[in-house]
Symmetry: D2
């Protein structure tokens, strides 16, 4: 039987698409549904929640609080929650959930990407795949799943030079 | 710190490549290293064990026993084992491990694919990604990880029509 | 103004798709429309003619004659004709057109592929792109366009070892 | 026998790559060699000339003149010249060749792309394929080959809304 999972999208690099007229990558339309359609999903039954579509560098403190509140609330109604998020401020939202909820009712797994799905070479599908599996295997808690690694909040930070997440020393 | 994982390849659809002269897909060279190079692997330190390169329909009982013995032995020396295997007889090798070892020293995760990595549209990378994450999160035991789902042996069979694995009724 | 071009598909490697149940590549459904949708076509207005879907090794003499007759007839009604064909017997159909029609009313360009479009790495899009451009630039005659090269019939043969076409010595 | 072709790269959207740290697409390293390696080139023997790597919106009048002079000069030494160029100012360089050289010694074919090669969905390979075939089939002159269409200078302009080139009305 499939687990019911809420999938909250907030934007970030993973969802950026190419604007031909301006020649830039930006958060305009969500490509998450295209990514999901390319995966074979037998373990989860996904409820999509399109919350915002922002580069996380443009998120306000209110945005992070909103994401944390919605994720916490949905963790009560579902067997788990996946949050797709820009990596620059992903840890801010992750810590906010812990501050608000301590241990949520079910696992909340954040993920994102260093290279947009739109690119020929990207970590987007790998990370989404990992988040959608980790949310089934982990106990209740707040995590980032990305680059073949699961780290638990609090105490996770982005290592900008390595382009990934690490535990605070 | 990265977990030390043994990755045993045995062939199967996931590793089939295209033979231009004969115009068919077959198990001749392994494309597993190319798949691994396309993933960002921060959680595991992989030791590759190229055991055989066979369509699992061509595996003998001795082949299955050999795979099970090697996997069980490597589970003692590593934090986990991933076995890449043809899906048609994957469950035979999975059950053989349980018969031989009961619960191995660390998790043994089998995976494969319905569509070769060589194809434009394939489940190979998804399944390999899942196996390489699941092996870090699961307790000791024998599993198949594929199509966003982890199932534990004994009692797993291939549903040929659905093209995936299910628990025996 | 776009040129009106007839595009005859007959099957061959270029159109082979993967049969998950049998685990083989075969000519069952045509992927030509998917290929066409991935190209930006400003120069031609295409009329699709789905004539047959066969590995050219399975074509009978009647098949080759039928292809040649239809191509010759469509060359009168259009500014050019492209024929997608298995490479093994592509030259047989090309020579047949010359035997039947000498110089057709407009250019007839045959093409195919050594590696199916379904593969991650394929010459299918390159060859289709070339045929759809060559048919606009060439004078009336019968040609193969493939692998960055245009050769005129009669006197073209497949070099099986090189996996491409050459002029007879 | 292969034709000797000079391939001048000047940058533009077609060659833009993704900068993970800054999260933008820019002209830093050339991906043209990777594109060339993915094509099967039997008709041309390419001499690469890496002239500059600029978004064409950043080109000065001197840049356009330099490109035109080098292309004209190389057209004397080779059977043809392909110029990879940003589309925004591609027509400026094309017209400059006509002003300087009238009809060059061999065909000069300019091309570019609306979507970078780095993207999952791109017109880069189609356009490069077309330029490398057109340069073999066209008489001496100055052209743009892109989107299944060949247009001859003078009198070619970019239609920004359509994202392609058209003849001046």
């Amino acid at each position: 039987m499939k687990r019911s999972i809420a999938l909250i999208s907030t934007g970030g690099t993973i969802e950026k698409t190419y604007d031909e007229l301006r020649g830039v990558l930006s958060n305009q339309v969500s490509v998450l549904d295209i990514m999901l359609a390319s995966l074979e999903l037998r373990g989860v039954d996904i409820q999509r929640v399109q919350l915002m579509n922002k580069d996380s560098l443009d998120m306000s403190p209110e945005d992070h609080t909103l994401i944390a509140q919605i994720a916490t609330r949905l963790a009560e109604a579902h067997a788990g929650v996946v949050v797709v998020h820009g990596t620059d401020r992903l840890a801010v939202s992750g810590e906010r959930v812990v501050e608000l909820a301590g241990t949520p009712a079910s696992p909340i797994v954040l993920t994102g990407a260093i290279r947009p799905y739109e690119l020929r070479s990207t970590d987007a599908l790998q990370n989404l795949t990992e988040a959608l599996l980790a949310v089934q295997l982990l106990p209740a808690g707040v995590y980032v799943a990305m680059h073949n690694q699961v780290l638990q909040f609090p105490g996770v930070i982005k290592d900008r030079n390595a382009g990934t997440f690490v535990k605070e020393p």
